[in-house]
Symmetry: C2
């Protein structure tokens, strides 16, 4: 199977995303070719560390890249201040310098945490992403957003830190739990829903092939990366259009907060799946798009085995006011008014500024009262 390369064009900070099989084995050589003489601090989590770290370490060593490994606990709770401090302390104790690299080897959690560390150690070190979850391969490893959570909410602290190379090894997805694969699939569907209706319809046809692996999977990941790269190129710092990538995320984040970031109840991509359905239903409720479009989105995500409704979440949820409160603290608030990603149909998302909080609240009240 062929390796695909997507280039993110950001002038002198441009970088390649390589997507294909057996990239871990080639990682050392691929890095050494582009970044000669670097040493590396690998950040990974306990799951990926146990399964795949020896292969990456061997690959670096074979290419003459000295490395040190930092293993954090798997899970969202590692995106916090104490873990960040542990990571930067380790990088500094290893005497890594500005021109050396941090390698994020894991899912979005590791990518966000390691990227933040790379962005602040010595005011910015080199950075390479080796995403191992589908979500990280199609979303979090591309575009340079990094960060951690605080008591006030998700991703409230961070920096923009573009990687110098992204290696998305599609073989490594074989050990990814099915549920995590589905969660990443939700983010892939997102690009179709935002502005690529053809991709959404292609996924409707090729979903089972993408889940099965093979060339359709590589193609789908590459399409997703290309789609994200295009948005990031036009609006790196999210002053405008990049906000479209938050489709489904305002509701999704509120649900993640409501479930205490408890992965047993909800993982990020699942929150996004429900959030996207809510965004379509809210758009339909506002008479912006058809109920049929909302139904089509829900049907596709449900067919992929994703949760799509509030009652798909195990356990009880807080009331509409509590959800609203957590939405208001979300970072997509500008001078008190709510900014929402709404849609006029499949592939027709848009940024709606000044959405009245009262409308969101009324919609949520209905949803919470009579589900379906």
């Amino acid at each position: 199977m062929k390796t695909e390369t997507v280039t993110v064009d950001l002038d002198n900070r441009s970088y390649d995303i390589m997507i294909g099989p057996q990239l871990i084995a080639r990682a050392g050589a691929l890095i050494a070719k582009r970044l000669p003489h670097v040493r590396a601090g690998i950040v990974t989590d306990s799951n990926i560390g146990a399964l795949h770290l020896p292969e990456l370490e061997a690959s670096l060593k074979a290419a003459g890249i000295a490395s040190t490994s930092i293993i954090v606990e798997a899970g969202e709770q590692s995106k916090n201040f104490p873990t960040l401090e542990t990571v930067v302390d380790h990088l500094l104790a290893a005497r890594l310098e500005r021109n050396d690299i941090v390698i994020a080897f894991g899912g979005g959690v590791v990518g966000d945490l390691a990227g933040f560390a790379a962005g602040i150690v010595r005011r910015g070190m080199g950075f390479v992403q080796i995403p191992t979850s589908l979500l990280a391969q199609v979303d979090s490893s591309v575009g340079g957003k990094t960060g951690i959570n605080t008591a006030q909410g998700k991703n409230l602290l961070g920096v923009f830190c573009q990687p110098q190379l992204v290696l998305a090894d599609t073989d490594i997805l074989k050990t990814l739990p099915e549920r995590e694969f589905r969660a990443g699939y939700a983010e892939m569907v997102k690009y179709g829903l935002i502005n690529q209706p053809d991709f959404f319809h292609w996924l409707e046809k090729n979903r089972t092939a993408v889940f099965a692996g093979g060339k359709e999977r590589i193609q789908a990941i590459a399409t997703a990366c290309r789609s994200k790269a295009a948005v990031v190129e036009r609006d790196e710092r999210e002053n405008g259009e990049r906000a479209l990538l938050n489709l489904g995320h305002t509701f999704g984040h509120a649900l993640e907060t409501a479930t205490g970031y408890n992965a047993a109840r909800l993982v990020h991509g699942e929150g996004v799946a429900i959030g996207m359905v809510l965004a379509y239903q809210f758009s339909a409720w506002l008479k912006l798009c058809s109920a049929q479009a909302a139904g089509q989105v829900e049907a596709h995500l449900r067919a992929a085995g994703l949760p799509t409704q509030l009652e798909d979440i195990a356990g009880s949820l807080p009331d509409a006011d509590t959800l609203m409160n957590s939405i208001a603290q979300d970072k997509k608030v500008s001078n008190g008014a709510l900014t929402f990603i709404l849609t006029r149909g499949i592939g027709k998302a848009f940024i709606a500024r000044d959405v009245p909080a009262a409308q969101v609240r009324a919609f949520l009240m209905e949803k919470l009262r009579s589900p379906h």
Copy 2:
């Protein structure tokens, strides 16, 4: 007395440094004019908080800028992880948004800490510097370097975060302890020594007038800012020339580490004063500049009441090996080789790469054995 304005030209991130009397009283109006509709999180320290915070708060309020104040303990030890966490938590709890501003109201410690917070909260908020120490007015508030210290050394964590406005109120220096004024003076002298011999000679003639206040002081601060701005404009991220600003700092940082950042023994600018004399003496020792130039630098700093020799530091110092070790951990190390700012005379500093550590060590051994 006239207010001087120095512009730091960084394309769409350009900003003004205003230097003159009574700028705290005008701060609200000056900010509101440039950044309409912002709210502010003021970060200050216990000393400046007690002396000047009410005036700044009143000035903002009069201009319609809502603000919240965060007071950290005065002193270098506040540039640490726990204090950073306190500051960002407060900014988030106050629900400040991306377009709101953090105001650093204090010396270099507050500037570095608050700037780092501004750089990472919501991946970057607005930022205004109101430096209150001479050192902060001529150095740390200009150029966008921010950061905190870690167990491994000074300023090892941080981001580049350019302010949108710098207000250097020369009246506020009236309450600055004399010793801190002298420390800031050392950084001012640094610009003369790097590449502006005329400014050094001007300071030799006008030193007492600069210490007395008045128009010479404003002129000297503006010249220093202009000098730093020119370097930053050419090399914002310190890939080259900006390293010149570290003249005296490699030795200085090692001395700060050796004295445990204990301000009773040594403050930053004093470390820089001794460090600059050592840099000249080391350059003379290497036959790069004349002993006469080194003597002239020492004489001027000594006349200003600054420490200039190792034995001016109260208490005992560690041996040459320990100092070398701390120099090697300093961030101006590239692939193991030592980078030093050396000089060929007054205003003739240059970046020397690959200075053998053995030579630095031999020089330090001599200095520690037979002072003078």
